[in-house]
């Protein structure tokens, strides 16, 4: 199969093709996105080109090609042999203290002010600018500070934990993901509640931020499930998916699960389940 679309795209400049590629995968900056969206909306030809781009992006994003266990084991063994010795851990040292250096953008207001909120230990922080998706991911990386929320007594598809009425999912048992803990943080006057889910040794952090939606992160990929726009990106070794539920920013991040699985976990809440 050769690349022979020049005649079809011949009337479009390389700049336009580049914009359409970025528009289709969600990496176009918001200001340009509106302009390109308007142009696409006026042209059936551009719409078909964007549809092709998205079809390819989705086909690749959905690739489920399991890595052979022997390859994974071989790489892990080599990595283990060459990894530097970890520094000696202090017995009883809280996890939050060890992870604090991973918060480069967050200025901690008055040191680590811990408060009790909704039964969970919270960290009150102030960021240098408006809170961002990466801030939310970093808070999630701090780990659970309280037990997992209970299942909603009204609907077992949801947990009895929510932000402004947006509830956390209780993933079906067959997915393997079970609630394992939570934390509540406050930043810039907003509340970010994170529920942790575990599947064996794997962990995922699902955060919902109160208030207006956060800005979409730069360079994120756009995907669509059941009519919901999801954006995925990589952040410091973690795969991250972010989207909106009832106007609230939701973020799910994991160093263990891949993008496809996170997209599934994110989209699960949008599959017509009744709210809690």
């Amino acid at each position: 199969m050769g690349v022979t679309m020049e005649s079809e795209n011949g009337r479009l400049s390389d700049l336009v093709l580049a914009e359409l590629a970025a528009f289709a995968d969600g990496s176009l900056p918001p200001a340009e996105r509106a302009r390109v969206a308007e142009r696409v909306a006026r042209s059936p030809h551009l719409q078909s080109l964007v549809a092709e781009q998205r079809a390819s992006v989705m086909a690749v994003a959905l690739l489920d090609v399991p890595t052979p266990p022997r390859l994974r084991e071989a790489v892990a063994a080599v990595a283990l042999r060459t990894a530097p010795e970890p520094p000696a851990a202090t017995e009883g040292e809280p996890r939050v203290r060890r992870l604090l250096p991973r918060l480069p953008r967050l200025a901690i207001a008055g040191g680590l002010a811990t408060v009790l909120a909704s039964g969970a230990l919270a960290v009150v922080v102030a960021s240098a600018g408006a809170p961002s998706i990466s801030d939310t991911v970093e808070l999630g990386e701090l780990g659970a500070t309280a037990a997992a929320p209970a299942v909603s007594p009204r609907n077992d598809a949801w947990l009895a934990a929510s932000v402004d009425g947006v509830a956390f999912p209780n993933y079906p048992r067959e997915t393997g993901w079970q609630r394992s803990g939570r934390r509540v943080d406050e930043f810039d006057g907003r509340e970010a509640t994170t529920v942790y889910y575990r599947r064996g040794d794997e962990e995922a952090a699902y955060s919902i931020v109160s208030g207006e939606p956060l800005d979409w992160p730069d360079g994120a990929r756009l995907a669509e499930r059941d009519g919901v726009e999801l954006r995925s990106l990589r952040y410091e070794g973690a795969m991250v998916v972010t989207w909106l539920r009832d106007g609230h920013t939701c973020v799910i991040a994991s160093e263990d699960a891949d993008t496809k699985e996170l997209l599934e976990l994110a989209a699960w809440t949008e599959k017509g389940k009744a709210s809690a």
Binding site: M5, L17, Q53, L63
Partner: protein, 185 residues
């Protein structure tokens, strides 16, 4: 030529490559390798060889992100391998139902077939287009990172990416059409 720079770390000061972070990237590298090679077996060999080379000694990262470094190492290892491949027999890809890599409990046979079609469509692209799509859509690099890996301008990567995606979409659409024709016949 990039293929000759396999053992050179990226230019510029940066964090050391932490081997503990690498296993988490194996899945992406394996998918990328399969799309590049067009064969699960060759992909496995390529990833193993890439990691062995990368981990042979300490490496420095430009922006603390190991993915672009590993993509470049994968590419260089592949190009190096291409030069010697003509001197040895080629391995044919197993049919879908015989490939151990497709024996996922999650993947039904028809789904595995679709995934293999996608990988085959990518593998059929010309090298420049294939590299752009693999770097951005499979490995997850930004356009800038992909351009650095391939050694070209960002604008070139984006237009290659556009055309690569277009070709893949058309190939998959044609396959779907052919299958639908067989079913209705």
């Amino acid at each position: 030529m990039l293929g000759d720079r396999n053992d050179q770390p990226p230019s510029g000061e940066g964090d050391a490559l932490d081997p503990e972070h690498l296993p988490a990237l194996v899945d992406r590298l394996y998918r990328a390798a399969w799309a590049i090679c067009g064969s699960s077996h060759d992909a496995e060999d390529l990833v193993q060889e890439t990691f062995a080379r990368v981990l042979a000694r300490p490496r420095a990262l430009r922006n603390g992100n190991p993915a672009p470094y590993l993509m470049q190492a994968l590419r260089n290892t592949y190009l190096t391998g291409l030069r010697t491949a003509s001197r040895r027999p080629r391995t044919s890809e197993l049919p879908v139902d015989e490939s151990s890599a497709m024996q996922s409990t999650l993947a039904r046979p028809e789904v595995a077939f679709e995934h293999q079609q996608t990988l085959a469509a990518i593998a059929e692209l010309g090298q420049d287009f294939r590299e752009a799509l693999v770097a951005v859509d499979i490995v997850g690099l930004s356009y800038r990172e992909a351009a650095d890996v391939v050694g070209t301008r960002e604008a070139t990567i984006t237009t290659r990416l556009f055309r690569a995606r277009q070709a893949v979409a058309k190939a998959l659409s044609e396959e779907d059409g052919a299958l639908a024709g067989k079913k209705s016949a």
